[in-house]
Each structure stands twice: as structure tokens, then as C-alpha cells.
Symmetry: C2
Subunit: 280 residues, 2 copies
Amino acid sequence: MDAHTWTQTLRVDEGFRLADLDPDAKPGYDHGKARGVADLAARLADLNVLQERLFAESRAGVAKDAVLLVLQAMDSAGKGGIVRHVVGGVDPQGVALAAFKAPTAEEREHDFLWRIEKRLPDPGFIGVFDRSHYEDVLIGRVRELAPPAEIERRYDAINEFEARVAASGTRIVKVMLHISPEEQKTRLMERLDRPDKHWKYNPGDVDERLVWPQYMQAYQTVFDRTSTAAAPWHVIPANAKWYARLAVQELLLAALEDIDPQWPRADFDVESEKKRLAAS
Amino acid sequence: MDAHTWTQTLRVDEGFRLADLDPDAKPGYDHGKARGVADLAARLADLNVLQERLFAESRAGVAKDAVLLVLQAMDSAGKGGIVRHVVGGVDPQGVALAAFKAPTAEEREHDFLWRIEKRLPDPGFIGVFDRSHYEDVLIGRVRELAPPAEIERRYDAINEFEARVAASGTRIVKVMLHISPEEQKTRLMERLDRPDKHWKYNPGDVDERLVWPQYMQAYQTVFDRTSTAAAPWHVIPANAKWYARLAVQELLLAALEDIDPQWPRADFDVESEKKRLAAS
């Protein structure tokens, strides 16, 4: 299956139901883990060439394109692994990573998109949001952190915001990593079993587990309301980490292939520069 | 030679003369390229463990330590390669990279350290400055971008600034990559010979070559005035890229080993969390 077809398979279209998607599935990929790990490594070279061209285009001022990967998931679903093993393979000079935590007092005084706007990737960059403005309609909804009318307002605000960002040249790749509650339990238990993983564990993680169905409903509403042509959602079954990493890499590749960045032409006379350099 | 001794060898101490350092030398390392490349890969695992511990400590709020790598060099000396091949091996979640270009109109309205302060790494992070406040006493001095009294003022201002940053818990690792003008010519010519490298070439690079001795003098003054106990300079011969990368990695390792970060102890009761998780 080519990248474009695979990307389509993962996309949230009309009628998508999260409850029907098996977190153990590997849609669009017919091979096992060993091949998957090998494919991830093999495709990294393509990703690097495309990223460098994108960066080069922006430096030369010939294009305004950027990529924004938005990562959302329940705790321990593997966002960190995506950053480490997919994004981490790319030249750090071309990556802008933003991890959004609970908003600060200053951030809460502003509209929920205020802090998001500031972290949008510059042209030429691959931006990564580790959590995002979607927290404001996920935990925001489940924990009633804002009045219902305000939560309701945010879906349209997000769509308008993302449409504007997309129109400015940024390909928005929205990804939800989908794990099962059983898989999460296993992963959190491992964090508790290993002293070098304790720092990753937060007692609040269990509190959120207890309202898992409410979160799944909040995600479903996010997909229903904000999977747009300008910025579609992709739900990636993530019980198998290797599959999720490969799928996200493929989504990034598809976004970059869509941009199709080219090495910019020199804006100086190459031959005369060679002479000038030789004489220097 | 252990990391600490090697680090000492590269350090700018009293009486250091840049003109006496051969850019082809490999001080402190007795092996060749093949072994150097293998050592770089082998030491990456150590770097990653130390970085993760540093990050973990800061998340747990038990430490304020950070590392700041300041990279300065003539064009094509290999700053980008350091970022790609040394820093790029580290989890991007723990890295904060800042590339300083010619200051914007807004930045020029402020003191030269204004934009620098804003990009200092948070606790737990490895910050990297690709160029830095030293441009203001390098190109600033050579191209007379500020009055002599202002340039003069900056050396002490830098020392006070860095002493404050160091006192707050940030290990400042200042590195100048030292290449020969002949090596630079070769590297720039390669950029001109390859269309996929044209975007990296700037006719201004040759202009700067023409005042190479003035730059070396400006660097010597930087070393004389700003290599302090709190933030010493290291000059790394960089005609051999593999050596420079290995040496910078070693400096980062030494800084992290000096911090000696530990896995933080859980601030919750592990056994009762296991029960709570099991029941969830």
C-alpha cells in the first residue's frame, strides 16, 4: 500500500466511530514487527531529505510551507516514543517541539488559543505539539473546566483557527494514538515497577483512567466536530508501539510529499562566486 | 584519557593563544577516524541516560540544573553537524535549540543580551545556542556594528550575565570550532559545486573570509576576556569533523557527569498506587 492510500485509511471521515476501532489493529500494514522496525529505519532517509528541502526552501524565502504534527492520547499511549523515535530521527535544526501542560495563570487569562498561536512552526519547520488546544475540549470537557457554552464555542473556534493556519501554508497532521485501557494498565504498572520510571508516573493518571468512557466520548465529539478537509484527524491504533511509530512517520512523509519541496535555485551567480572564493 | 582530563586539555586557560593551535590536531584523543566514529556512537547511550535523569530531576522539581552549549565558529566549521550528530542523538523532548541570526529591528532596540536571556534553557534541558551573544563582540567588533566603548562594555556584561546563569544551576559549555581558512575554502567550494548545497552558501561568507585575521583576533580577545571559571571556553580543532563531534559530546558528558543527576524518588506511595491501579 502506498503512503497516500495508507494515510487515507487512518483518516477520520464521516461516520467514523472510535468505539469500533481495535487498538490492536494495524490498518494498512500487512507485515509484522520486525519488518515494521526495519521499514521505520529505511524510510527515515526519505524523511530527512524532504525535511532538509523544506528547510532549504524556507531559508531561501521561496516557500511558506511548514508541517504541524498534533499528538493527542491518553497517558502512556506513546506520544513520547513518537517524539523520540520518529521526530528524533530528523535534524533538530528543522524541528520545533512544544509540550503543552496545564495552562499557567497567565495563559488562563487569555483565550485558549493564545498560547497555541505562539508555538506554531515557522516556515520550513516541522512543528510538533505534544498535547495541544484539544486538551481544552478533552480534559476541559470531561472535568468541566469551562462552562458548557464555552466548550461548545471552542470546536468552531478550532476549525477557524486551523483553517487559517492551513491556508498560510502549514500542513496540519492531527493524530490520536488509540490504546486500550488494559494496555494502559500494563504500561502504568511497569512505571510503578521500575524506580527509573517512577518520575513518569502521576497518581492523577489513575484518576483519568476512572473516567475512560467519558474521555472516549470527548474524543468522538472532537472527531465529529473538528475533522475537516483542511485539518483531518487520524486515529492510529497504538497498542503496538512499532506500528504507531511507522504510521506517524508515514503521515509526516505524506504531508511532506504533498508539499514536494525542491532544492532552491541559487540567488547568486555560481561561477563568479567560485572565482571569488578561489581568489580569497 | 578520561573525560575530565580531556575536557581540561581543550579548555582555554591563562596564556592560551589561538594562533598556536593547529586546526588539524586531535588533542586528548589518540585514535583515528574509524574508532572516533565508533566511540561517538558508543558514548551516546551514556549521554542519553544522563540527559533523561537530568530531565526527570527537573520534572520532579528536585533540581534546577541545566546545560547550555554555546557554539561559535567561522562559516562551515561544522556547527550544523554538531547539532545534527551530537545533539541529534538526544531525546528532542529534553533539548532546546536556539539559532541566533542577525538581530531583528526589535532586538536591536534592546540590550544585546535581551534576546539571549529569553532563550536560556529551562531546568532539566540541554540548551544549544547556534551562534550567540558572542556575535556581538565578534562580527560586532570586526564590522564595527557598535561604537568601541560599547563593544568594550560587553565583555564584562557577558561575564556578569554568565556568572548569574551559572549560579542558577546551568552548566555553560562554550565551544569554538576551529578550522583553517584552507579547509573553509574546500567546504565552501563543495557547497558551490553541489546544487543541493547552494542554499547553504551565502556570498557574504567570502566577505567574512577576507577579514579572517581580524576574526581570529576578535576570538582571541573573547578568550582573553570571557574564559572564566564559571564559564570557560573550549577551542576544538575542527578540520576533522569526527574529532570535533566526539570532543563536543565529551564536553556535554563531562557537564552532565558534574551535575550527576539521579532518578528522583517517588513522591507517592508506590505500593498503594499499584493497588489503586490494579483496581481501576
